[in-house]
C-alpha cells in the first residue's frame, strides 16, 4: 500500500500537488523549532565552563554542518534513484538540493572559522573538519557548474547525477584522508568542534536546531522541486490546472 503512494509521487502532477500541500506542514514547525532553539541556545543554556559564551556558535554551526552533509547525501540518493529507476522527478529533487546544500556549507565554514578564531588565534587552521567542509563546498560548486555548463536539460540532469554519485562515494574517503593528514602535521587540536558531553539544558536547544533545520530543508526542497518539475514538464494538461491553483 505504501508503495503505491511512493510510485504516485514519481508522477510530476502528483508530486507538485503533494509538495504544495506539504510545505506548510514542514515550514511552520521548522520555524517554531528554530526560534525555540535560538532562545534556548542564546538565553537559557548556561555558558560553557571552558569556552564561555563562545560555544553558543555550536547552535548555528552544527546544524549548518549537518545540513551540508545531509543535503549532499540526499542529492546523491535522488541522483541514484533517477539513474537506476529512471524517475525524472528524482532529477528535479537532486537539482533542488544543490543550492541549499552549498549555502549551508558556506555557513558551516564561516561559523566554524569564527568559532575557531578564539581557540586558534587565527581565522583558519586547516582543521580536518573544516578542510573537509571546504572540499565539500568545491564538490557542490562543481555539481552546479556542470549543470549550468550543459545546455540540454536531460543531459545536464544525467551528467550531474553521475557526478553526485561519484562525489558521495568520495566523501568518506576525503574525510578520512583529511583527518589522517591533519593528525600527521598538527598537534591534537584543543578545539572541540565535536559535540561534547552536554547537560540537557545545552543539548536540548541543539537538538531543536538540528530538527528545525532538517524540517526547513524539507520545506525548501519542496518549494524548489515544484519549480524544477514545472521546468521539466512539456505536456500542458496538468500544468494549466496547477497554475490556476
Amino acid at each position: 500500500m505504501a508503495w503505491t503512494w511512493f510510485h504516485r509521487l514519481a508522477s510530476p502532477p502528483h508530486l507538485y500537488a503533494f509538495a504544495a500541500r506539504a510545505t506548510p506542514w514542514l515550514g511552520w514547525p521548522a520555524t517554531l523549532l528554530i526560534l525555540g532553539g535560538l532562545y534556548g541556545g542564546l538565553v537559557l543554556a548556561p555558558p560553557d565552563y571552558q569556552q564561555g559564551d563562545d560555544f553558543r556558535i555550536i547552535y548555528v554551526h552544527a546544524p549548518s554542518a549537518w545540513m551540508s552533509l545531509m543535503v549532499y547525501v540526499t542529492m546523491a540518493s535522488a541522483a541514484a534513484i533517477a539513474l537506476i529507476w529512471r524517475m525524472k522527478v528524482a532529477h528535479a529533487v537532486a537539482a533542488s538540493c544543490a543550492p541549499i546544500g552549498a549555502s549551508f556549507t558556506l555557513a558551516a565554514l564561516v561559523t566554524g572559522s569564527l568559532w575557531g578564531r578564539k581557540m586558534w588565534g587565527t581565522y583558519w587552521e586547516w582543521d580536518p573538519r573544516l578542510t573537509s567542509e571546504l572540499i565539500l563546498l568545491f564538490l557542490y560548486i562543481g555539481y552546479m557548474a556542470l549543470r549550468s555548463a550543459i545546455e540540454e536539460l536531460q543531459r545536464a540532469d544525467r551528467a550531474s547525477a553521475l557526478l553526485a554519485i561519484v562525489g558521495v562515494v568520495n566523501v568518506p574517503i576525503i574525510h578520512y584522508s583529511v583527518i589522517w593528514w591533519n593528525s600527521l602535521h598538527q598537534a591534537p587540536s584543543v578545539m572541540k568542534l565535536a559535540k561534547p558531553a552536554m547537560p540537557a539544558s545545552m543539548l536540548a536547544p541543539l537538538l531543536m536546531m538540528l530538527a528545525g533545520f532538517t524540517l526547513l530543508f524539507g520545506a525548501l526542497l519542496l518549494v524548489r522541486v515544484r519549480a524544477e518539475v514545472l521546468r521539466r514538464e512539456r505536456s500542458a494538461g496538468w500544468i494549466r490546472a496547477a497554475l490556476a491553483g
Binding site: 559564551d53 563562545d54 548555528v60 546544524p63 549548518s64 555557513a107 569564527l114 518549494v223 500542458a236 497554475l243
Partner: protein
C-alpha cells in the same frame, strides 16, 4: 541586557555567526520562492505560446 549582547567578550564572534546563518536561512527561503515564481511565469508563457501555435 547588555551582558547578553556582550556574550562574555565573544560578541564579535557569536553575533556575526548567528547573523550570517540566519541570513542564509532567509536567503534560502526567498531564493526558493523566487525560483518557484519564475518557473510559474515561464510555464504560463510556454502554455500561452503552445495555445497560440496552430
Amino acid at each position: 541586557m547588555s551582558t547578553f549582547f556582550y556574550m562574555g567578550g565573544y560578541a564579535a564572534f557569536v553575533w556575526p555567526s548567528y547573523a550570517l546563518t540566519l541570513a542564509i536561512v532567509l536567503l534560502n527561503v526567498l531564493w526558493a520562492r523566487r525560483a518557484l515564481a519564475r518557473a510559474r511565469v515561464e510555464a504560463r508563457r510556454r502554455l500561452a505560446s503552445q495555445a497560440g501555435a496552430p
